[in-house]
């Protein structure tokens, strides 16, 4: 019985130490574990603007503009506080839409525009039939008119 509780302490203690070590490592690498930076972080200079990095947020409503060549697109990524203008040449994912999430990878130019080499669409964890989505949209529109 005594040997058994000693082994229990050893196993428990080992796992506890390991958890503590991993927690410390993860908190130390916090900056490198994020997949993208928000426009606010970029504005505060927290993003690694010298090299290629990713910016994530919402595609601003009414910001998508297509050039005459049909391939070059410009739009703006926002986290509602700050906005970053993005230009991109290439195909966009199907779910890329105004008012929806997107993550762009590329470099920040001197003039403040973000030249993207890759655009990913980010979708949320809500799943609903189209009729329900339509109802939600109507309801939020109604709520907006009431609050005005």
């Amino acid at each position: 019985m005594k040997a058994r509780s000693k082994r229990l302490m050893l196993v428990g203690g080992g796992v506890a130490l390991l958890v503590a070590a991993v927690a410390l490592v993860l908190s130390a690498f916090q900056q490198n574990l994020v997949f993208f930076h928000t426009p606010s972080e970029v504005a505060e200079g927290k993003a690694p603007t010298g090299k290629t990095f990713r910016v994530g947020g919402m595609v601003e409503e009414g910001s998508i503009k297509r050039e005459a060549d049909g391939l070059t697109v410009s739009f703006a990524i926002t986290d509602t506080a700050k906005v970053i203008p993005v230009s991109y040449r290439g195909t966009l994912p199907d779910l890329f839409k105004e008012g929806k999430g997107a993550v762009v990878q590329g470099k920040l130019e001197a003039d403040g525009t973000f030249r993207a080499t890759e655009v990913l669409a980010k979708h949320d964890e809500n799943y609903m039939p189209p009729e329900a989505a339509h109802a939600v949209e109507q309801a939020s529109k109604a709520a907006a008119t009431v609050s005005q």
Binding site: G14, L33, F35, F36, L95
Partner: protein, 258 residues
Amino acid sequence: MNAPERSRSLFRFAAPHNFYPLAGRLAPWFAAAALILTFAGLWLGFFVAPTDATQGQVYRVIFIHVPAAWMSMFIYLVMAFWSAVGLVMNTRLSFVMSQALAPTGAMFCFVALWTGALWGKPTWGAYWVWDARLTSQLLLLFLYFGFIALTRAIEDPRRADRAGAIIALVGAVNVPIIYFSVQWWNTLHQGASVSLTKAPSMATTMLAGMLVMAIAAWMYTIAVVLWRARSMILERERHTEWVGAVLEREAQLKGGRA
């Protein structure tokens, strides 16, 4: 007076020669339940559940992806639990259980990654990204492979059991990291639609299909692991009298049928 007797009767099944016939009796029932629930779940998922407003039909991969991902994480925790029990209590069956779980866990982990890649391309625009969720799930697959390889590579079963148990316990730290990665860091992978702390953010029939598939995955795992544990027990206890008796009886049954 009653309580110790009752617990003794349950702990009886920790002995391989008692567990072996019990597992053999239970496994077919779990397999049957798995089969029925899989058909029910796939029918709900593919024919009853509505299309999704943003993703259309492609979201339906969720009915395989999410149950597989849940199962891959849960099996690793169960593996770690049996490994800890084995290390502390020195019970033979605990290590058998943890090693019987590993291949099924690895299979579900692979299915989760594979269906995830197929889902990622049409929605995100990429098969694979190195965000925290995907990377930690890939690490889980490697932990499964490491566990299987290590326990198979060491000849002496007692040493193999112990070495494997350490990997199982160390790797278990990764499971909460996978689960909470979408909350702790910003990732491309979306957050959880179903959790204990909030109402599920999906339509009822979608949720029903996903949960039925999840229970089917549980039933399948239990059935397969019981069968695998049975053959591992036979192999490990092959020098004992009871295994000789079992094999003889089974040979006679087969001979009688033929």
